[in-house]
Symmetry: C2
């Protein structure tokens, strides 16, 4: 891993539906310069590239010019590592097939690589976070949705077409809750995301109408994973049951993932992890329960060590150290 001692910097760009954030990162994961531009304002990809170059180029000068930059890593929804393209991302302003890594590389004159955000998070965790030195782990991001990045033999699994690792869409409860966007029934994301936790709470409230709960002090539209967490911490039983249930479903799914690739660890990341033990304890219990004995008490369930606000930039930047 001689690249890890590079004194050059990597630029990490995380493209979200609203904004694109970027940072200049050294090989230890320290972010020096940061910036952001709007994503959604630029309906035309060339205008977006112009805005990006305008924001980044002065900083490149600041650090001593292009020679001091190892490369650019980009994390983007529907990003395909193999061709460096964003393919049909529903939540971005640019439609169809956008060969963004090539476009950025031409525009800025610096080698660029791209992957989806969850894979970038896995590379970030392996490079700077709680998976340093691990050859086999699975990263699960528990945010509005559920994302995943799988590492086997020290490499992110991209599969035949670049789209491997859609674990949030695996069916955990066949015939279960219908996904708001894919229409699939019982996929992990419908339970183990912030959105899923909210739906579970609403379901429990209507299923047990006689059960007291602090959650009944809120309008249904106010109930989100933060409110449920606050109520759970206050000792509210129904709110606690919501996290228990979420952990049960997540742990079952994790057991299945473990029996696929036998990782050293599963690293959990994202907003839902603010619930701490409320979510990790039932998750761990359910995972162990559903594992074959040969896998039991072997697999670490870890919390990401990356600061959430930095993780997307770090993950994207980490792609650079893998560039040949």
């Amino acid at each position: 891993m001689s690249v890890r001692v590079s004194k050059k910097l990597a630029i990490g760009i995380d493209i979200g539906g609203t904004n694109s954030v970027f940072g200049f990162v050294d090989h230890r994961g320290n972010i020096s310069y940061r910036g952001a531009i709007s994503t959604k304002r630029y309906k035309d990809i060339n205008e977006y590239l112009n805005a990006l170059a305008e924001a980044i180029e002065p900083l490149i000068e600041q650090v001593g010019g292009r020679d001091h930059i190892q490369g650019i890593g980009i994390g983007a929804p529907n990003g395909n590592y193999y061709n460096g393209a964003i393919e049909y991302a529903p939540n971005l302003p640019w439609k169809g097939f956008i060969p963004l890594a090539d476009l950025v590389q031409s525009k800025l004159g610096i080698p660029a690589a791209l992957t989806n955000d969850a894979n970038a998070a896995a590379v970030g965790e392996m490079t700077y976070g709680s998976a340093i030195g691990m050859k086999h782990f699975i990263m699960i991001t528990l945010g509005t949705g559920v994302g995943s990045g799988i590492v086997i033999d020290g490499k992110v699994v991209y599969g035949h077409d670049g789209f491997a690792g859609e674990l949030g869409h695996t069916i955990t409860i066949p015939g279960g809750r219908k996904h708001w966007s894919t229409g699939a029934e019982g996929s992990l994301e419908t339970y183990a995301s912030a959105t899923g936790v909210r739906l579970t709470a609403l379901e429990f409230l209507s299923k047990f109408p006689d059960k007291n709960s602090l959650l009944r002090n809120y309008n249904p539209e106010e109930i989100d994973s933060k409110v449920i967490y606050d109520c759970a911490v206050e000792g509210d039983e129904l709110a606690n049951n919501v996290f228990d249930y979420t952990g049960k479903v997540l742990g079952l799914a994790l057991a299945n993932f473990v029996m696929f690739s036998s990782p050293e660890a599963v690293v959990l990341f994202g907003g839902l992890m603010k619930a701490g033990d409320l979510i990790t304890k039932p998750t761990k219990e359910a995972m162990e329960k559903h594992l074959l004995p040969i896998f039991q008490n072997k697999v670490k369930l870890l919390k990401s060590e990356l600061k959430e606000s930095d993780a997307a930039i770090l993950g994207a930047s980490a792609l650079v150290w893998e560039l040949k």
Copy 2:
């Protein structure tokens, strides 16, 4: 793949609970010499090794001596590729940790490698069968149980500890049928194996007591996957429903596996595949139904091209071409 043009032979040994079969295989998968010894007769591993050497050594002389042998590949239940050991195999006469690859290598003076039978089948398929040239595929063996071997980037996935790829034990129907040996509820093997097909038939017969079926002409203990197949081919509705249901469960599981590693193909192998379209058609339909659109109509569902009687030997022998 320069090793593929070797003129040397590989010895493949497949260790089953009853017998161990072996063959001398060229790089194209032609088996020249074959043999077998009892497994269960030798409670002591050293006696087993003596018997194996006695059976194999004359054949080695026959082909011109050790210089003509590239190596020995062994497929065994609970075989761990990393350390070449059989670890706590419940159905073999030798208990505990048996470093069989080392023992065979010392005994015969030829390099040896070992893996579990399902992983060996995957290597065999990649080397001689329907997955030649594929870098990403999943092999599922549908026999008495359900085994699996996963190939990513042209390599079998062994995971952190050597035990990756226990897909038959992933939970497909949470809270479902209890596994006869592991006790897990709803694991794939309880539905998609020959054993599972039999259980589904018995379940349907008692669940729909008024439904006519040719299967009612048999005693329950006579009903096995072969009988159910024969009745299904005769047009028996209940028997056909059994295969439909099996395919639905298997297809759901396959969709989940595809969303994990995005393979080019899933290769199906084993006794249950004798049912042909009766099993593959509903499997394919269910798989496509549960896949995210980006994976739909991309993944081939293939039948193994290895002759069932040869596959275990071929798979084990194929390990040899991977030996460094």
